[in-house]
């Protein structure tokens, strides 16, 4: 699989996803510096987490106006797959690639912890079609602005179109605090209309070993990559 990882000033999960991509696919992704505009054709572009441009103005707002975004839009129009994680999700929204907005967590506190994700019934998407719906994913979040907010109309549209990818769900022990940020309808990730762009707040690249965070992120990424090249 030919993949690329965008790097903005302030990106800080770029190395983590590069490691994951390399371990899973055996091939290192290319690094896409935000000012660069010439890239080879790719199967997947990942916009990693972090604090691009220090989250100044609004999370993702400045990155969404970087030169590299034009390449991402071209890549999408060619049918390419894009995964935006955390700040990457915020950037996709600020760039107008995904709808809605990500506002501050309900408790107004940065939150880093495990969450349990339920896979939703969606339109055809390489990110989800390899996964069994009944298997929940345990993947951590770490963010201050992950509260997905949208109008009722948009929320209904996303639901009816099968574009809600993941929802936070209660774990077995009846945890009332299962939604880490207060997002509408417990939404943790959404898809583009063609199902090939996924924006998600949880960090799958932080759940790739048994010693810490578990391996559900590894499962998710592996299945996605299989489908993308499949």
């Amino acid at each position: 699989m030919r993949s690329g990882v965008t790097i903005f000033p302030g990106s800080n999960c770029d190395r983590d996803i590069i490691v994951a991509l390399k371990n899973i696919t055996g091939k290192a992704p290319i690094k896409m510096w935000h000012k660069d505009t010439e890239f080879p054709n790719l199967d997947l572009i990942v916009i990693p987490g972090g604090f691009s441009f220090g989250d100044y103005l609004r999370c993702g707002a400045l990155a969404a106006r970087s030169p590299v975004i034009k390449n991402i839009k071209n890549h999408i129009s060619r049918g390419g797959a894009v995964l935006g994680i955390c700040n990457g999700f915020q950037i996709l929204i600020e760039a107008g690639i995904l709808p809605g907005s990500l506002i501050r967590n309900k408790k107004l506190l940065f939150t880093c912890r495990d969450t349990m994700l339920e896979i939703q019934n969606t339109i055809k998407s390489p990110f989800l079609s390899g996964l069994k719906k009944e298997h929940h994913l345990n993947i951590p979040v770490a963010h201050n602005e992950g509260n997905f907010f949208a109008s009722e109309t948009l929320l209904n549209e996303l639901k009816n179109d099968g574009r809600i990818a993941f929802k936070y769900i209660k774990e077995v022990n009846n945890n009332t605090d299962y939604n880490p940020n207060g997002s509408s309808n417990d939404i943790a990730g959404i898809l583009s209309k063609n199902g090939r762009v996924l924006g998600m707040m949880p960090h799958p690249e932080r759940a790739i070993n048994n010693l810490y965070g578990g391996t559900d992120g590894l499962k998710f990424l592996t299945k996605s990559f299989e489908q993308i090249i499949g």
Binding site: P9, G10, N12, C13, R15, D16, V19, A20, G49, G50, F51, F53, G54, D55, Y56, L109, F110, T111, C112, R113, P140, A142, N144, H203, E205, R206, I208, N209, L211, Y212, G213
Partner: protein, 763 residues
């Protein structure tokens, strides 16, 4: 006073005297004493101008000169085979094998955090990270040690909330995981909170960068953020006591920008991977002053700077402001001549300022030009060599009062005491705090936030076919009430507890960074606390072969004459060869729990100075539990031997709250229960029996509880070890802790208060 060569000055005697008097007044406002001022005039053979005086006052401040503690700091053990760089550089460096070095340091940001919690804490984190990457290391973990006032005070909530947000605000944004630390509350910190931040980094051991300037004529480079008017005289502010008007000092607090910090980190590491950097020093306390002076002084050279070339945020900044500003995210470097263009292109890429602002000289003087005039011309040597060093009078007060079990006035039953212990914010879960820190960014965290007694981060790039790789174990520890009651013993205890925590996580303790937080050293008893703790720390560190390689001293933590509990925080680092072998503190079902370091016949625990004494007596006025260094060393050795044989499933050090508290903590995570074995003589006791209480809650040192699913093999090994141990029982799924027929303890409800306490306080 006399100036040797008055003819230097074209002024008459009266004018001279007036100038001297007014400068002395300025000097005293900047925190210098009259003696210190006279010394300065004598050494530089003139009356200093405002810029020169500002530079001297910053360099002579307690914060920069360590004038009260230097005499004693020199006595600390700093060497061992594995030490590459001890105290004196930006951070300490130790060899951890595989050509790698761990670079680490802890530093306080107490005074600024009290005045402005968010920025104070954030810049504390930023500053300590710069100390580490200045040495050429990529920071891989952050820890902290926090002390706040009474939880019931409104101001305390303001402090906790702001400090935690500030630490998270910087660490989360720059993308270094905050993996551990400790937080305590005590009314002695009402007027002076403590914010100590520790950073650990990783470097190639042959690519460590130092600060000594080299080569006259080499260019001096300024990189990073622009200089503003923030933090002017921050180091001086941090060297005095607080009064009621201390909030007026808010402008002396620096403002952090973690985004620029991240850019500076990446650009500096990128430049350091070339051969351009000869020496480098971050601009921390006392900004451009201390960085230029220290670089020149360490290289026995001089420095010329043209301050007009310094990138500034505001117009018309004076030489005084530029030299004393503590604006964050700035570095000073000496580059190899000819490499400037290449270096500049790296900083251009990261959109950071890069300016050649001067050169290294042979003069031995610090010469500064501003607006075409000479703003400063002073010899470097007196700034460092002649910085005052005081041998302050001290008295080490050791509380010798021991409390006998039969003197106890018992109010509560065992289960009631446990309930009170877990409602105590000093024992309760700090989840509310650590969930606000990104603990898993960088993808290398193995253990954080109390999963094991020390936090563990794996070392990127050491993965092999057998293992995910090597790991670094880290912890911060101190029990201030012990230090208050007996500074020497308390200092030893802090080191030993840190070492036990490292070992209980499965790692080998290697070295220490320390943060000595005290009140006003001009008071005999406080100086005694400083001297006593240093003696204790030194003794234990040298016995355990964990030398002190870096550290920081924070004095004058007093408000209106009231000082904090003495708080010499120990930050310890260790290494684990294969991170798969990290030991959790959580027991699993059907594990046998054993206590190492205590025999079956032991029944009378040490309750003096314990959490238990505080609960039953409402006060702490006794000698702390004694420390036996041989026992401490032995228990660590045996624990690691058992672990090497793969016989352990969990380990947890016994500290605050004693044996029973520790057992409960080990049962929480997996909702376990235990039928606890008691020593024979306690079997007939009731739930208010003083001896039983002392056995349950005594805080005797040198004890660790381990869990095993191979009890026969463990028994066999321990039989010949000459170490006391006692089998406590086997864990089960009941979630109930039974003390025979004496009492039944519901773990679930304790876990509930353990989790609820801090969120309730913080609202």
């Amino acid at each position: 006073m006399k100036i040797s060569n008055q003819t230097l000055y074209n002024i008459n005697k009266n004018e001279y005297r007036a100038q001297l008097e007014s400068t002395l007044k300025d000097a005293m406002e900047m925190g210098l004493t009259e003696d210190e001022f006279n010394l300065i005039c004598k050494k530089i053979k003139k009356i200093p101008n405002k810029t020169e005086l500002g530079i001297f006052s910053a360099m002579f401040s307690e914060h920069c000169s360590y004038k009260s503690s230097k005499k004693w700091l020199k006595t600390m053990p700093t060497r061992a085979k594995h030490v590459i760089q001890g105290p004196g550089e930006n951070a300490g460096v130790i060899d951890i094998g595989d050509n790698l070095a761990a670079v680490f340091k802890i530093e306080s940001h107490n005074h600024p955090s009290f005045i402005e919690p968010y920025q104070g804490a954030a810049t504390g984190v930023g500053g300590i990270l710069r100390d580490v990457f200045t040495m050429g290391a990529r920071p891989i973990a952050l820890l902290n040690a926090l002390r706040f006032g009474s939880p019931s005070e409104l101001l305390t909530k303001h402090h906790v909330s702001g400090v935690v947000k500030g630490i998270g605000g910087y660490g989360n944004c720059i993308g270094i995981p905050t993996v551990g630390g400790e937080t305590n509350f005590d009314k002695s910190y009402d007027g002076n909170i403590l914010v100590n931040a520790m950073a650990v980094g990783l470097a190639n051991k042959n690519r460590i960068f130092y600060s000594a300037a080299t080569g006259a004529g080499n260019p001096v480079i300024y990189v990073g953020a622009k200089t503003g008017r923030d933090g002017i005289h921050g180091a001086t502010m941090a060297s005095t006591e607080f009064t009621d008007n201390s909030s007026e000092k808010r402008p002396t607090v620096q403002v952090g920008d973690p985004f620029t910090g991240k850019l500076l980190l990446e650009s500096c590491l990128e430049l350091m991977s070339t051969d351009a950097v000869l020496s480098i020093q971050d601009m921390g306390a006392a900004g451009l002053t201390s960085s230029s002076v220290e670089m020149a002084s360490k290289g026995s050279l001089g420095m010329y700077l043209n301050l007009d070339l310094v990138p500034t945020r505001e117009d018309k900044m004076t030489s005084y402001e530029i030299m004393l500003s503590e604006s964050q995210e700035r570095m000073l470097m000496i580059l190899k001549p000819g490499s400037e263009e290449n270096a500049k292109s790296i900083f251009d890429k990261w959109d950071l300022d890069f300016a050649v602002i001067g050169e290294v000289t042979k003069t031995g003087r610090l010469i500064l030009d501003k607006d075409g005039f000479e703003a400063c011309n002073i010899p470097i040597n007196p700034l460092v060599e002649d910085a005052p060093e005081y041998d302050r009078p001290y008295e080490i007060i050791q509380n010798k009062n021991t409390i006998k079990v039969n003197e106890l006035n018992i109010n509560y039953a065992v289960d009631e005491i446990l309930a009170k212990i877990f409602e105590n914010p000093n024992i309760s879960s700090k989840r509310w705090i650590w969930e606000q820190y990104d603990s898993s960014v960088m993808g290398d965290t193995i253990s954080s936030n109390g999963k094991s007694d020390a936090s563990i981060v794996k070392i990127h790039g050491t993965k092999n076919s057998k293992s995910l790789g090597k790991g670094i174990a880290m912890t911060t520890d101190c029990t201030p009430r012990y230090v208050k009651s007996d500074p020497i013993n308390g200092g030893m205890q802090a080191v030993c507890e840190a070492a036990r925590n490292i070992a209980a996580s499965g790692a080998k303790p290697l070295a220490i960074t320390n943060n000595l937080n005290f009140g006003n050293p001009e008071k005999k008893n406080i100086m005694g606390e400083i001297v006593g703790s240093i003696k204790g720390i030194s003794k234990a560190a040298s016995f355990l072969n964990t030398p002190i390689v870096s550290g920081n001293v924070s004095l004058y933590n007093e408000t209106n004459g009231k000082g904090i509990l003495p708080t010499p925080v120990i930050g310890m680092v260790g290494v684990i060869d294969e991170v798969e072998n990290c030991l959790e503190m959580n027991a699993k079902e059907d594990n046998t729990l054993l206590i190492l370091g205590q025999s079956e016949n032991f029944t009378e625990g040490w309750i003096g100075c314990s959490i238990y004494q505080e609960i039953e007596n409402k006060k702490i006025d006794a000698a702390p539990p004694p420390v036996n260094l041989e026992k401490e060393k032995k228990i660590i050795d045996i624990l690691l031997q058992l672990h090497t044989k793969n016989l352990l499933t969990a380990a947890h050090d016994i500290s605050d709250g004693g044996l029973l508290t520790t057992i409960c903590e080990m049962l929480f995570k997996n909702n376990l229960g235990l039928n606890l074995n008691l020593p024979k003589s306690l079997l007939k006791s009731d739930s208010k029996d003083p001896t039983l209480h002392s056995w349950c809650f005594g805080e005797d040192q040198g004890r660790i509880i381990v869990a095993t699913d191979e009890i026969d093999k463990v028994n066999f090994f321990l039989k010949d070890s000459n170490l006391d141990y006692f089998v406590l029982g086997k864990t089960n799924a009941s979630n109930i802790l039974n003390l025979k027929d004496i009492t039944t303890i519901y773990i679930k409800s304790l876990k509930n208060s353990f989790e609820k306490t801090l969120p309730l306080i913080m609202g």
